[in-house]
């Protein structure tokens, strides 16, 4: 299907704040990208089709690809790359877990269906009802799971600062190792509490630890994986790190199979190079190493968390407000709402095909990028 047939006249775009046609905006974007010495494709809140198109464009223009949730994404990914980890799916956790270990804050924000899908009393897939214990380590004080009426055992509530210490001590007690005498900080768990918690985890038939990397530090996540590794010496325990928003898991997957690397990868050398420090969007912008940003956020009205003084092209959800007017702005459709899309589903734990719930003529990220790509060859010469 060609773009011209499938994108309606409702498509809205602007150049320096002045209304423009989609073709004019695509041409203006292509000119900026063609002129750029180091383009950066950031945000990347897109469906899998949009991610594939962004990667293809980055490869063509020698750009860098970054995602707005890279920092959290890489905290989870680093454990896969550096240590041994156990994983499970939302479905398996739902039907099998008899102990759920929630860790830290932000869980329902990361997975709004947490309560409905995981915390309600389960039935095992084989039909045996399981009494499910739900243990929550280090939530904010007085934290609640929205809509959940069941019993949650809360441990070490307070500021997150002592979570790493609690986790290390818990892991030690799971292995029956001695620990130094406990400090007096309110959220630091006493030995009796640690031992009770360790007994719960070791007594699990199939336990699942759940967290979002947005709320945890790298060392805490690594310690959690170590804890689960140790638990598997005698019983079964796994982890369900929640996917970050804006289809970050789907974008990561597409990036993996097309380049072999995750986000924060650059094509400037003519082949993909992955470097989490060098290709950090915020650093590239702050250091002046990039001179043109293509920002993509199709799911939410999210501008970047950083200010940019360089050329700025936005493919964005229609309500998005930017601190500075973008040089080029193209309103794109919401994946799965305005158009059919493939996205990672937190409910299933893999990629699924979503049918548009309110189909419109707004271009998809892939369509907008392909339009820009089509203009690139002519970008230094004539209007597209």
């Amino acid at each position: 299907m060609s773009l011209k047939n499938s994108v309606s006249a409702e498509a809205t775009a602007s150049i320096d704040g002045a209304p423009a046609s989609l073709d004019e905006a695509a041409m203006a974007a292509a000119r900026l990208l063609a002129r750029s010495r180091q383009p950066l494709i950031a945000g990347l809140g897109a469906d899998v089709g949009g991610a594939r198109a962004a990667i293809a464009l980055a490869e063509r223009i020698g750009g860098v690809i970054e995602h707005m949730h890279s920092a959290a994404l890489l905290r989870d990914l680093d454990c896969l790359r550096e240590t041994g980890i156990m994983l499970t799916t939302p479905g398996e956790a739902r039907v099998r877990a008899n102990v759920v270990l929630l860790v830290g804050d932000g869980l329902t924000e990361a997975w709004p269906a947490l309560n409905e899908r995981l915390l309600r009393p389960p039935a095992r897939p084989d039909g045996v009802d399981v009494a499910r214990r739900i243990v929550w380590l280090a939530p904010a004080i007085d934290a609640r799971i929205r809509g959940f009426e069941g019993n949650i055992e809360i441990w070490g509530a307070g500021r997150g600062a002592t979570l790493a210490v609690n986790l290390a001590a818990l892991r030690a007690r799971v292995k029956n190792r001695r620990i130094a005498s406990r400090q007096s900080a309110r959220s630091e768990l006493p030995l009796s509490a640690l031992d009770a918690l360790a007994a719960t985890l070791k007594g699990a038939r199939f336990g699942v630890a759940v967290w979002t990397a947005a709320s945890l530090g790298a060392l805490e996540i690594e310690m959690l994986h170590g804890l689960v590794r140790d638990l598997n010496e005698t019983t079964r325990f796994s982890t369900l790190p929640l996917a970050e928003p804006d289809n970050s898991a789907g974008v990561l997957a597409a990036y993996g199979w097309t380049t072999g690397f995750p986000v924060r990868t650059g094509f400037g050398a003519g082949f993909p190079i992955h470097d989490p420090w060098r290709f950090d969007a915020e650093r590239l912008v702050a250091s002046g190493e990039t001179d043109c940003v293509l920002w993509i956020s199709a799911f939410e009205a999210s501008p970047p968390a950083w200010r940019s003084a360089v050329n700025f092209i936005a493919l964005c959800e229609r309500r998005t407000q930017f601190a500075e007017t973008p040089n080029v702005r193209i309103t794109v459709g919401r994946p799965g709402v305005d158009h059919d899309a493939v996205m990672h589903s937190s409910d299933v734990g893999t990629l699924v095909a979503a049918t548009a719930s309110a189909r419109s003529g707004a271009p998809s990220v892939a369509q907008a990028l392909e339009r820009i790509g089509a203009c690139l060859e002519d970008a230094s010469a004539r209007p597209c």
């Binding site: 799916t89 072999g260 893999t350």
Partner: protein
């Protein structure tokens, strides 16, 4: 467009041709020489070249969530791949979807089966395959450790399994069904750490044997051309040849395919309690005409093991090199990813290497033994050219054997084997037989009506070099490789079967997913529009 490939040595065992002759290609199809004196639009002088149909790989882990997790786990292997010269081991790993298609095509392979896709991950696998250029491809869907099938067996509804297989193949657009450590992976979720053919899955009360036999019969009755593809229990363990023998014996008279048999070819003899049992296995395969096997040859070097045998991979996690792994309990099988380096100086690895070659050389029917490394589990598929050389030249084998520990060779029969594969046997094993096994009548041969997938090789003293870089490769009649380099990138299709699905099974699956998972049963669908390429699929006929 009419192309005449003139004067090639045509090796086409399916049509009993092994002679100098011409091949004619009209558009995407091989045709008989025109009787009306029609002139070719293009004539290719192929004198001195060997012509075979495009190669078909029946078992290679090239796409999907498991493979992709391995890519993301091992960035150091990509970096090595991108930057190093051809001789270094890591550069053998074809790591992205694009590289996978390119490297297969350059070896003259044109169809590859990804054999391990959990039904829930079918869309992901198909998206990766869609980004794998040139070759055609297919997936096998995994069943047999999932609650639905186990529950059917528990309640004695074996007849419903056939309908469930049809539903799964339809939903996932798969070419066949695989079972991986039947029951063992489910049992591992209940903390069972070893599982054999007659062990019982907790709660469901069914044995591995019962699962394999029920699935085998159901696949056959559903008319699926490819027989049940079995990854047996006890992979990798000393003495496990008995597991494979028992599985073969259980097949009775129905077709059954055993995957990567090398990993089940181990006895307990010798000073280290680890020895080759390849002769016993080969004898059993030779006698069981209904059984086919692929080898899963091991080659030395760095690789990563990617398996849906979660129990086995969990047990192997301590041997990870480098020291990292991921073990995932899935909705059915899940996965285990454990990087590993096979070393020529290792007693165990040397025995494994010998077992694979022994199986190739002792199984006497090239129509029933298939050429695989279980990529990347035994070795990356880019080692195929070296393996062809090992099979076709006993001097090459002797040279390799001279570098292996003598005490390892002493517990194998490899040094005594003098068989050398002929070109025709190679073409049978990698072309004609796979097409027959998968039910692809217009592939794997060069007769009129076949799809014009053709590989031309330039004979060389170095057999590996000949197979590493095809002189020319045609895909659907289009020249895609010239002198070992891809010259044109096009995209192939995913092959799948579409057996009839009973409406009652559709209703039942809708209820099942709603009740157990709170999900619509179509979440695993693979709509054509989601793939992002024109005509991504091709239907393969079931037996009527």
């Amino acid at each position: 467009m009419l192309i005449r490939i003139k004067g090639a040595h045509i090796v086409d065992p399916a049509n009993r041709r092994d002679e100098i002759g011409d091949l004619w290609i009209r558009d995407d199809t091989i045709v008989a020489a025109p009787q009306d004196g029609a002139q070719a639009d293009e004539t290719v002088d192929a004198s001195g070249l060997i012509a075979m149909a495009g190669g078909i790989d029946i078992h290679s882990h090239i796409a999907g969530a498991n493979v992709n997790t391995a890519r993301l786990m091992l960035p150091e292997q990509h970096r090595a791949h991108a930057r190093r010269p051809a001789e270094t081991p890591l550069s053998k790993v074809g790591w992205t979807t694009f590289e996978t298609g390119r490297l297969y095509a350059e070896m003259g392979f044109t169809t590859v089966v990804e054999p391990a896709v959990a039904p829930h991950n079918a869309l992901h696998a198909h998206l990766e395959l869609a980004d794998t250029p040139i070759i055609d491809k297919a997936i096998l869907a995994i069943l047999g450790n999932d609650d639905f099938v186990l529950s059917l067996l528990r309640s004695g509804e074996t007849s419903a399994i056939r309908d469930h297989i049809a539903w799964t193949l339809q939903s996932t657009r798969a070419l066949g069904i695989k079972v991986v450590n039947a029951g063992g992976v489910a049992a591992f979720k209940d903390n069972i750490r070893s599982f054999s053919f007659d062990d019982v899955v907790p709660y469901y009360g069914v044995t591995s044997r019962a699962i394999v036999k029920a699935l085998q019969r159901a696949v056959h009755e559903a008319g699926v051309p490819h027989p049940l593809h079995v990854h047996c229990n006890n992979l990798g363990l000393p003495g496990n040849f008995e597991t494979a023998l028992t599985t073969i014996a259980s097949a009775e008279d129905l077709p059954l395919h055993l995957a990567h048999l090398q990993f089940y070819g181990y006895g307990k003899e010798g000073p280290q309690g680890f020895s080759s049992a390849a002769p016993q296995l080969a004898e059993a395969v030779n006698a069981a005409k209904n059984v086919t096997v692929d080898v899963g040859q091991l080659m030395f070097g760095q690789t990563v093991t990617i398996s849906s045998d979660v129990l086995r991979q969990f047990s192997a996690r301590g041997q990870a090199r480098p020291k990292k792994y991921a073990i995932a309990d899935g909705d059915s099988n899940g996965f285990g990813i454990v990087p590993y380096e096979y070393r020529a100086g290792s007693f165990h690895n040397a025995v494994q290497f010998a077992v694979g070659l022994e199986l190739f050389l002792l199984i006497n029917d090239p129509w029933r033994v298939f050429f695989t490394t279980d990529h990347p589990n035994g070795a990356p598929f880019t080692t195929y050219p070296e393996i062809f050389a090992l099979l076709m030249d006993k001097d090459v084998r002797a040279e390799w054997a001279s570098r292996l520990p003598a005490d390892a060779l002493a517990v194998t029969t490899l040094p005594s084997l003098t068989r050398e594969y002929t070109l025709s046997e190679i073409a049978t094993m990698t072309r004609a037989a796979p097409a027959k096994l998968l039910g692809l009548p217009n592939r794997g041969h060069l007769g009129a009506g076949a799809r014009a997938d053709v590989a031309l090789y330039r004979p060389a003293k170095d057999i590996a070099q000949m197979f590493r870089a095809a002189a020319r490769v045609y895909k659907d009649g289009e020249l895609v490789v010239d002198e070992g380099e891809v010259t044109r990138t096009r995209y192939g299709r995913a092959l799948h079967v579409t057996p009839v699905v009973e409406a009652s099974m559709q209703r039942r699956m809708t209820e099942y997913y709603d009740e157990r998972y709170g999900l619509p049963s179509d979440f695993m669908r693979v709509p054509q529009g989601a793939i992002g390429r024109p005509q991504p699929f091709e239907v393969v006929a079931c037996r009527s």
